[in-house]
C-alpha cells in the first residue's frame, strides 16, 4: 500500500510568492557588541562589489575603528540626512535617496536603531522593509539582545534591558549569518579598547561582558540562527511537497546507548559534524528495555547527553518499541543525512537471535549515510536488576535439586506400577517448575539434573550413566527442550506482567495525584501539592514558578524554600515561560543551569514553569521517568488553568460588587456628611443672634453623629482593604458592653439601658477594638431606632457551649422576611420608618468585623413583637473555660 504523495502546503506557497520580486535580507547576527558584525558585513559587501554587484552603503557606524573604516573606503556611501532635534542635529539614513539611487544591494548597519522623531518610520527595520519591498537586497546587523522574543531572557541574566527591539518576523524572512568569536577573545578586545560603547553605558555594560553572560548570549545567537534556518527549510519543503529527506545541508544524528563507549560515539559524531559544518543531534531511543537499565546505566546515558550538549549537539530522546524503529522515525523527522552508530561486540549468537541493529538500520534507511564505529564494552555488561534472575539464585538451585530428588523417590516407589515413559513424564514437573519460577539457567539445570537422575536410577543399565537404548536419548533431549521453552515463555509473560504493573503503578500514582489536587481551590496549596508530589514521585528538588501581577516570574512553591535560583536558572525559567519549550539542564537551551524547566501549558498559554533539579547535580530526570513527568506536567497545567479561570470569574464578581458599593457609598456619603454639617453650620450661625442651650445641644449631637459616621467610614475602608488585623485576647462581655455603652452614651440618651447577663457568663476570645466597634454600632442602632423612653436590653446567654449576646430594642422592628438584609452595606430597610439617619454602614461593619473574628450575626424581630433583636453569636471555639478558682480568690 503506497502512501498518498504529500500535498504542497498552500500557505507556504503563498509566503514564497510574496517573497518573489522582493529584495532579500541578510542579517549578521552577533552575540554582543564588538564581535565584528559591521566588519563582516562590510567585507561581504566589498566582496559582492568585486563580483560586479551594484553595492552602496546606506548607513554604517564605524565608531572610529580603523579596520572597519578602511573597508568603507572605495565604496559608495549614500549621504545621511540631517534631522534637527531638540537643538541638536541627528544624522539619519536617507531612505528616499537610497530608493532613488536604487542599488542592487544596500548595507544598513544597526537594524534595531530607532529613527529620530519626525522620520517616516519610527524604526530602522521599517525602512529596511521598504527597501526590500522596492526589490533592493539589504545586508544588516543586529545583536541578539535586540531580538524581541529574546529580550526578556537576555535581560533576565544580564540585567541590562535594551529598549530597541526587532520583531522576530523580520529575522524569519532573513538569511542569518552568525558572527561569532569566543567569549575570551571578545573580553580581550574589550580590554584592548577595541569595542565601542556609548560613554555613559560603559559601567553598566561592564557586568554585561562577563564570560558566563557572553557564553549564554552566544548560545542564544547560534540557536536563533538555527531556528531561522529550520523554519525556512520547513517552508521550502512544504512548498515543494517534498516528503523524503531533504538534502539541503548535512544533518547528523548520533544514536547513543547505555554502553560505556557511547561518549566515544558522541566525539566521533562531533568530528563528522565539524568537518561538514553541520548541525548534529544526539539521540537516545527509549525502548521498554530502558526501564530495566541500572542506575549506573541511566547515569551514563545522561552523562553522554550532557557531553553532547557541551560539544554543541542538540539532544533528543524518543520513545519507541525498538531501537531500529526509533532511529528511523527520528531520522525522517529531523531530515538527517548522516547517522553515527556504534556496533557493540556482541556475540554472534546474540545477533542471530536478535538481529543486528546496524544491519537493519542500513537495510531500511537507504537515504542516509551510516557511519558504524566499533564500541568498547559489549553484551557482557551487566544489565542492572535483571542479572540475578538470569543466573538464578542459590535458593532456586536448592529447591530444584530437592524437587528432582523428591520426584526420583516417588517414581522409584511407584516404579512397579509405572512404565519407563511415564516416569520420564514425572520429571517434567521439576523442570517446568524450575524454569517458570527461577528462569532459564535454573530450568536447564533442572533438565540436566532430571535426565541424569532418570538415566542413573531408571534407565537400564540402572546405576550407570550409560544409555543402552538409543530411544531413551529422546527423553533426555525432550526434558532439556522443555526447560528452554518453558523458561522463555514464563520470562516473556513475566516481562509483560512487570510492564503492566509498572504502568498500573504510574496510573495509580497519577490518579491519586489528580484526586487530591482536584479538591484544591487555591493556587498556593495547589502549587505546594504539585511540588511535593513531583518530588515524591521522581525524587528531585522541585520549584514552581508563575507570573504574578508583575512581569517577573514569581516563585509559587518550592520543595526546599532555601534553594535560590541564580541568574542562569532564572534565564532558563524565563525562556521556558516565554517560548513554551523546556530549558535548562538536559535540554537544548541554557543547559548550564542546574535546573530543568518545563513549561506548564494549557493550549498555547504558558501558565507556569516547573523546575526540577537532582540533589546530586546530575541530570534531574531519568529517561524512563520522562513520560511520568510529562503526565504530571499536563495534569498540573490543567489544574493551574482551572484555578486561573476560577480566579478570573471571582475577579469579575468582585469588581462588579465593588462598583455597586462605590456608587452607593458616594450617594450615601454626600447625604450623611452634609446633613449633620448643615445642622452644625446653621446652629452656629444662629448662635450669633441668640445663645440657647438647644442650639448648643444640636451642634454637639450632630457633631457626635458626624464623628461616628467618619469612624464607620474608616472602619469600612479597613474592611474593604482587607486590612483587618486581629489582636485576639480574652474578653469579658459585661466589661466590653460597659465600655461600649459609655462611648455610645449620647446615642443611648433617653433610653433605659439594662445589662442582663448571668453571673457565670464565660469569657470569650475576640479582638477588643473590633468587638468594641461592633457593640458601638449595635447600641447606636438600638438608640436611634428604639422608641424614645423605652428600654434597651443587652442580654448575654450561654447555650450549649455557645455564647449569644443580643441587643433588644422596643420599636418598629424589621420588615418581616427581610431581617438578614439589614447587614448588607448601605441597606437601610424601607417599609419601616427607619429613617433616623445613618448609612447602614454600621450594621455592615458589625457583620464584617464579627465574621473576621469568627463570630456570627443575627437580626430578627423579637418573639413578643416589641422590636428588633440583633445578636452576636460566639461559637464554642471562641468561648473560654473559666480559669481555676485558686487564681481568682
Amino acid at each position: 500500500m503506497a502512501a498518498a504523495p504529500p500535498r504542497p502546503d498552500p500557505d507556504a506557497l503563498l509566503r514564497a510568492a510574496v517573497q518573489e520580486g522582493r529584495g532579500r535580507l541578510k542579517i549578521f547576527l552577533g552575540a554582543a557588541p564588538g564581535v565584528g558584525k559591521t566588519y563582516e558585513m562590510l567585507s561581504e559587501g566589498a566582496a559582492r562589489r568585486r563580483d560586479g554587484v551594484d553595492v552602496v552603503i546606506g548607513v554604517v557606524e564605524t565608531h572610529g575603528r580603523a579596520e572597519t573604516e578602511a573597508l568603507t573606503r572605495g565604496q559608495e556611501i549614500v549621504a545621511r540626512r540631517a534631522v534637527p532635534y531638540e537643538g541638536r542635529t541627528l544624522h539619519e539614513m536617507d531612505l528616499d535617496a537610497i530608493l532613488a539611487r536604487a542599488p542592487r544591494l544596500v548595507l544598513v548597519d544597526e537594524l534595531a536603531h530607532t529613527n529620530a522623531p519626525g522620520s517616516r518610520h519610527p524604526k530602522r527595520y521599517q525602512d529596511v522593509e521598504e527597501l526590500l519591498a522596492a526589490g533592493i537586497d539589504v545586508y544588516s546587523t543586529v545583536n541578539i539582545q535586540h531580538v524581541e522574543s529574546l529580550n526578556d531572557v537576555v535581560a533576565s541574566f544580564t540585567r541590562v534591558r535594551v529598549r530597541e527591539t526587532v520583531p522576530d518576523s523580520v529575522l524569519e524572512q532573513a538569511e542569518i549569518e552568525v558572527v561569532d568569536i569566543p567569549p575570551d577573545e571578545l573580553i580581550e578586545r574589550l580590554k584592548a579598547g577595541k569595542v565601542y560603547l556609548p560613554h555613559e553605558a560603559t559601567r553598566a555594560l561592564g557586568h554585561f561582558f562577563s564570560k558566563s553572560n557572553l557564553s549564554a548570549l552566544r548560545e542564544l545567537a547560534l540557536r536563533r540562527a538555527a531556528q531561522a534556518v529550520d523554519a525556512r527549510m520547513l517552508d521550502d519543503v512544504r512548498a515543494l511537497g517534498l516528503g523524503g529527506t531533504w538534502a539541503g545541508s548535512d544533518r547528523i544524528v548520533v544514536a547513543i546507548n547505555e554502553l560505556p563507549g557511547a561518549d566515544g560515539l558522541v566525539r566521533a559524531a562531533k568530528r563528522v559534524a565539524d568537518s561538514l559544518r553541520a548541525p548534529w543531534t544526539a539521540l537516545f531511543v527509549e525502548t521498554p528495555r530502558a526501564a530495566q537499565l541500572s542506575d549506573a546505566q541511566h547515569a551514563r546515558v545522561a552523562a553522554t547527553m550532557t557531553l553532547a550538549t557541551q560539544l554543541g549537539a542538540a539532544v533528543a530522546t524518543v520513545p519507541a518499541t525498538n531501537v531500529v524503529a526509533g532511529i528511523q522515525s527520528f531520522l525522517a523527522d529531523a531530515r538527517a543525512t548522516q547517522l553515527v552508530l556504534g556496533k557493540s561486540r556482541r556475540s554472534r549468537w546474540f545477533e542471530l537471535r536478535h538481529g543486528s541493529v546496524v544491519d537493519r538500520v542500513i537495510r531500511d534507511t537507504p537515504d542516509v549515510t551510516v557511519h558504524v564505529l566499533p564500541m568498547s564494552g559489549g553484551a557482557s555488561e551487566p544489565r542492572g536488576r535483571r542479572k540475578p534472575a538470569r543466573w538464578g539464585t542459590p535458593l532456586g538451585y536448592g529447591v530444584t535439586t530437592a524437587l528432582v530428588a523428591a520426584v526420583t523417590l516417588v517414581a522409584s516407589a511407584l516404579f512397579h506400577v509405572l512404565d519407563l515413559g511415564n516416569v520420564a513424564l514425572l520429571y517434567l514437573l521439576p523442570v517446568m517448575a524450575a524454569a517458570s519460577l527461577f528462569g532459564l539457567r535454573t530450568g536447564l539445570y533442572a533438565g540436566i539434573a532430571s535426565s541424569l537422575a532418570y538415566n542413573f536410577v531408571f534407565l537400564p543399565p540402572v546405576g550407570t550413566l550409560t544409555i543402552s537404548n538409543p530411544e531413551n536419548v529422546v527423553s533426555v533431549v525432550v526434558l532439556l527442550g522443555i526447560a528452554v521453552a518453558t523458561s522463555q515463555l514464563t520470562a516473556r509473560v513475566r516481562a509483560q506482567a512487570d510492564l503492566a504493573a509498572a504502568s498500573a503503578r504510574t496510573n495509580a500514582t497519577l490518579a491519586g495525584f489528580l484526586r487530591q489536587i482536584a479538591a484544591v481551590s487555591d493556587l498556593d496549596a495547589a502549587a505546594r501539592m504539585i511540588c511535593d508530589d513531583v518530588r515524591r514521585l521522581l525524587g528531585v528538588q522541585v520549584v514552581l514558578l508563575g507570573r504574578g501581577h508583575g512581569a517577573q516570574l514569581d516563585l509559587l512553591a518550592a520543595t526546599d524554600p532555601a534553594y535560590a535560583l541564580n541568574t542562569m536558572d532564572n534565564a532558563a525559567a524565563n525562556w521556558a515561560f516565554d517560548t513554551g519549550n523546556a530549558a535548562g539542564k538536559g535540554s537544548n537551551t541554557l543547559a548550564a543551569s542546574e535546573w530543568l524547566f518545563q513549561p506548564l501549558k494549557a493550549g498555547e498559554r504558558v501558565l507556569g514553569v516547573l523546575g526540577v533539579a537532582s540533589e546530586s547535580g546530575r541530570n534531574p530526570v531519568r529517561a524512563d521517568q520522562l513520560p511520568l513527568l510529562s503526565s504530571l506536567i499536563d495534569q498540573s497545567a490543567l489544574v493551574l488553568e482551572r484555578l486561573r479561570l476560577q480566579a478570573e470569574m471571582r475577579d469579575v464578581d468582585v469588581v462588579r460588587t465593588r462598583d455597586r458599593l462605590r456608587a452607593a457609598l458616594l450617594s450615601s456619603v454626600s447625604h450623611d456628611l452634609r446633613t449633620p454639617l448643615t445642622a452644625v453650620i446653621a446652629a452656629a450661625a444662629q448662635l450669633h443672634h441668640e445663645v440657647s442651650p438647644e442650639l448648643i445641644a444640636t451642634i454637639e449631637g450632630e457633631a457626635a453623629r458626624l464623628n461616628r459616621f467618619v469612624a464607620n467610614l474608616l472602619d469600612m475602608a479597613r474592611v474593604e482593604a482587607g486590612a483587618i488585623k486581629l489582636n485576639v485576647e480574652a474578653i469579658d462581655l459585661s466589661d466590653a458592653v460597659t465600655g461600649a455603652a459609655h462611648d455610645a452614651r449620647r446615642a443611648l440618651e433617653g433610653h433605659d439601658v439594662r445589662l442582663d447577663v448571668p453571673p457565670d457568663l464565660p469569657l470569650i476570645r475576640a479582638d477588643p477594638q473590633l468587638l468594641h466597634h461592633c457593640l458601638l454600632n449595635l447600641l447606636d442602632n438600638a438608640g436611634r431606632y428604639g422608641d424614645p423612653g423605652t428600654a434597651i436590653v443587652i442580654e448575654g446567654r450561654n447555650r450549649f457551649g455557645e455564647v449569644r449576646l443580643a441587643v433588644l430594642d422596643h420599636g418598629p422592628g424589621l420588615p418581616p422576611g427581610r431581617e438578614s438584609e439589614v447587614f448588607e452595606t448601605f441597606t437601610r430597610l424601607e417599609g419601616s420608618d427607619r429613617a433616623a439617619g445613618g448609612t447602614g454602614l454600621g450594621l455592615a461593619i458589625v457583620k464584617a468585623f464579627a465574621e473576621a473574628m469568627g463570630m456570627m450575626v443575627e437580626a430578627r424581630n423579637r418573639p413578643d413583637g416589641a422590636g428588633a433583636a440583633f445578636a452576636l453569636i460566639f461559637p464554642s471555639a471562641l468561648v473560654l473555660r473559666d480559669p481555676p478558682n485558686e487564681s481568682l480568690s
Binding site: 466589661d735 455603652a741 445589662l755 480568690s889
Partner: protein, 227 residues
Amino acid sequence: MPATILVVDDEPAIRRLLRNTLLRAGYAVVEAEDGRAALHMAAAERPDAILLDLGLPDRDGLGVIPLLRKQGDAVILIVSARDAVDEKVTALDLGADDFVTKPFDTEELLARLRVALRHRGPAEAAPQVVERGDLRIDLDRRLVSRGGEPVHLTRKEHDVLALLTRHIGRIVTHEKLLSACWGGDDDPRIEYLRIVIRNLRQKLEAPDPVGSVIANELGVGYRLRSD
C-alpha cells in the same frame, strides 16, 4: 497661684479651643506648636501639666515624652487623634499620666486633668475612703459597702479594687494590675483579671452599663471613675 498648663499642638484651632477651656477653668496657659518649642517652653515655664499631641510636625510625640519627663515632674496628658492601643500603652510606659482621644469632650478632659494634678508627686497620699454614689470603699479597714450593706469581696477582688481606688480617676494598665495582684503566679493571665472585674461589676454596679464605676480602657487597662 493657678497651675500652669503647656498646650502642645500644631493646630492653631485646637490650641485656641484648649486655651479658652483651660482659662475658663482657672489655669494659666502657655503654648507650643512643635516638639522643639515644647521642650523649650517646658524648661522655661516649668508647667504643672502638659497636654501633648502625638502628631507633631517636627518629631514623633512619643519621642518627646521621655525628654519632658527628664525635665521635671509635670503631669503629661496625651491628647491625640491616634487610636492605636499599643501607642497608648507605649505612651503610658514612657511616663505619660493619661490620654484623651480626639475628638474629646472638654469636660472629660478637664476632669482627667484635675485628677492627674491631684495625684501629682508620689508624696501626696491617696484618699483612704472613696464614696461613689451608693458605693463606699474604705481602704484602711478593707471594707466595701453598697447602699449601707457590706459587700463581701475575695482577696483578689479586694486587691484589684484597692489598686484602682488608690489611682482613682487614672488608668491602671493590665500589666500593672496583673503584676501587683498576681505577681507571685508563674503565668499571670489576663483571663484572671477579666473574671475578677466581671465579679466586681456584679457585686458593685447597677445593671445600667452606661453608669458603670469601673471604666474599661480598651486593650490598655481599667480606671475607677472619679466623677
